[in-house]
């Protein structure tokens, strides 16, 4: 499972991507992934909002995750 990080999320974690491999404790849902990030990097709690995309689609907290998914951590967008 590849996790891409953008904008301030990339700065907080200090990398533009990381992977969960089969041997890792892989988060089962979007919510679990968000919780995991907040625990490790409390600064995520200070953001205005935090969205997650699964395979290039915005995903609800309840969305289940699979090892082959491309995940993106989406802090508040500010295009335009």
């Amino acid at each position: 499972m590849e996790v891409l990080l953008f904008g301030i999320a990339k700065d907080i974690v200090g990398t533009s991507s990381f992977r969960f491999e089969g041997g890792d404790v892989v988060p089962q849902s979007v919510l679990e992934l968000k919780e995991r990030l907040s625990e490790t990097f409390p600064e995520f709690d200070n953001l205005s909002s935090l969205a997650v995309a699964v395979n290039s689609e915005y995903a609800d907290d309840s969305k289940g995750l699979n090892l082959g998914d491309e995940i993106a951590i989406i802090p508040p967008v500010s295009g335009g």
């Binding site: 891409l4 953008f6 904008g7 301030i8 700065d11 200070n46 953001l47 205005s48 995309a53 290039s56 689609e57 915005y58 993106a72 989406i74 802090p75 508040p76 967008v77 500010s78 295009g79 335009g80």
Partner: protein, 136 residues
Amino acid sequence: MIVEIVDEIAPGQVYAELSHPNSGGICVFVGAVREFTDNEEVKALEFEAYKSMALREMEKIAGEATQKWELNKVVIRHAVGKKEVEEPVVVVGASSAHRDACFEACRYLIDTLKERVPIWKKEIFKNKMVWVSAHP
């Protein structure tokens, strides 16, 4: 329908892209880098995109606009990379038989792009850098 993420925007070209024999009206919005934010001088903006998803969202938004209004042509083009004051960073536009549709659609395109498209903007000031809208 033209949906693109590019390094440089040439706003002048969009008129030809939106022209159509049954379009009496063409409305275009260009977003550019402003010199001041809250009275602080901005040196530049830097844009980063989750490109594959941004293009999908831009396509969806263009599709939604063509569902809501009778449009002949739609363009959504966003730039990435570092942009200096007065440089264009985004151009959206629509053309339609009558002007109501293209005005309303053009507004929808830019408003919805700003809400949903995964692109991020960092303001570069003299002594600091700020990811826009990141914090409350």
